[in-house]
């Protein structure tokens, strides 16, 4: 079902789909999906959406309920009404206050884990409090 405003497909609130959705254009889901969503473009999971299954998308805005894993090539955006039970994997993540999320998160804007770790910075273990580099720094920056 197309909404007539472009290439976006719309699954309306009164629609329930059992099976896999594959799309090369953007998708907006307001209804129920019992299965996977594979979308090479962007997806919007609306407030009334309930998804039981995994998502593979380029980027996704989540406002509804997802019970499954979410893999996004680019970005996952969780709005305040979002509820996610499952693991997420993305390059970028933004979370609004009010979100419910239980699962494992792999979000790394720098790519690999080592690339994003600021190695030359002083490290203060909470146990013994001994610094690797106690020599001051740029303070006052927030």
């Amino acid at each position: 079902m197309s909404n007539g405003t472009g290439n976006q497909s719309l699954i309306a609130a009164d629609v329930e789909i059992i099976g896999t959705i594959k799309s090369s254009s953007s998708v907006r889901i307001e209804g129920k999906l019992d299965g996977e969503l594979i979308c090479t473009a962007d997806a919007i999971i609306g407030k009334s959406a309930v998804i039981k299954g995994n998502l593979q998308v380029n980027s996704v805005v989540i406002e509804g309920l997802i019970q499954g894993n979410v893999v996004a090539k680019d970005k996952i955006e969780m709005k305040s009404t979002a509820k996610v039970h499952g693991d997420i994997n993305a390059k970028r993540l933004s979370v609004e206050d009010g979100v419910t999320f239980i699962g494992r998160s792999e979000v790394n804007p720098g790519g690999s884990g080592a690339a994003s770790a600021p190695s030359p910075k002083p490290e203060a273990p909470a146990g013994d409090g001994k610094p690797e580099n106690p020599s001051g720094g740029i303070f006052g920056r927030r």
Partner: protein, 188 residues
């Protein structure tokens, strides 16, 4: 006709270090009394910029400057900013503790409502830590449980386990963790 806004003095929040009562005071006062227990409170702001081993109790703030060393004694204040060395002794902040880069500290002896880790600060801990609110601009590796709000600002890195009722995460932050976010266990 001139219509202007009435100038309202700035309100300051204080916490009595004797009874723990929170109250606000408009403007500046020469002598600060606790609104509940009537204790005269020390409201001095301190800056530690050399070795220091005498306890400080104040309703104001204490800043351990980069060249400062807190080597012993109890530090009790509304806000504590650590940019230097904290070698031993308990730190209790009624409002918040802010940690700057280059600081030497032991989070396990810090008691506070709100913890701020500034940009450039890296904390690695195996001991699970619990705070009410946490604002992260630096790097945290470990287990953190919050009873309030966790803010991961752009550029911050969190690795480990995170349990919090509320999370705000800015675009550009890194989160590689087992996460439990939900409003089911908020306290206070």
């Amino acid at each position: 006709v001139r219509i202007g806004k009435t100038a309202v003095p700035t309100k300051h929040e204080f916490v009595c270090y004797e009874c723990g009562y929170r109250f606000t005071v408009a403007g500046k006062v020469r002598t600060l009394y606790c609104a509940k227990c009537r204790t005269i409170l020390n409201q001095t702001d301190y800056t530690i910029d050399k070795p220091h081993d005498i306890s400080i109790v104040t309703a104001g703030s204490v800043r351990i400057a980069p060249e400062g060393v807190w080597s012993n004694g109890t530090l009790s204040a509304r806000d504590v900013i650590i940019e230097g060395r904290h070698e031993s002794g308990a730190i209790k902040a009624f409002r918040r503790v802010e940690i700057g880069p280059g600081a030497v500290f032991d989070l396990s002896v810090i008691t506070t409502d709100s913890l701020v880790l500034r940009e450039g600060v890296t904390v690695t801990t195996e001991t699970p830590l619990t705070f009410h609110d946490v604002e992260l601009c630096g790097t945290f590796n470990g287990t953190l449980e919050s009873t309030g709000l966790v803010k991961l600002l752009a550029g911050s890195v969190f690795r480990g386990k995170l349990k919090t009722p509320r999370l705000i995460m800015e675009d550009g932050a890194t989160l590689e963790a087992d996460v439990e976010i939900g409003g089911h266990h908020e306290t206070k």
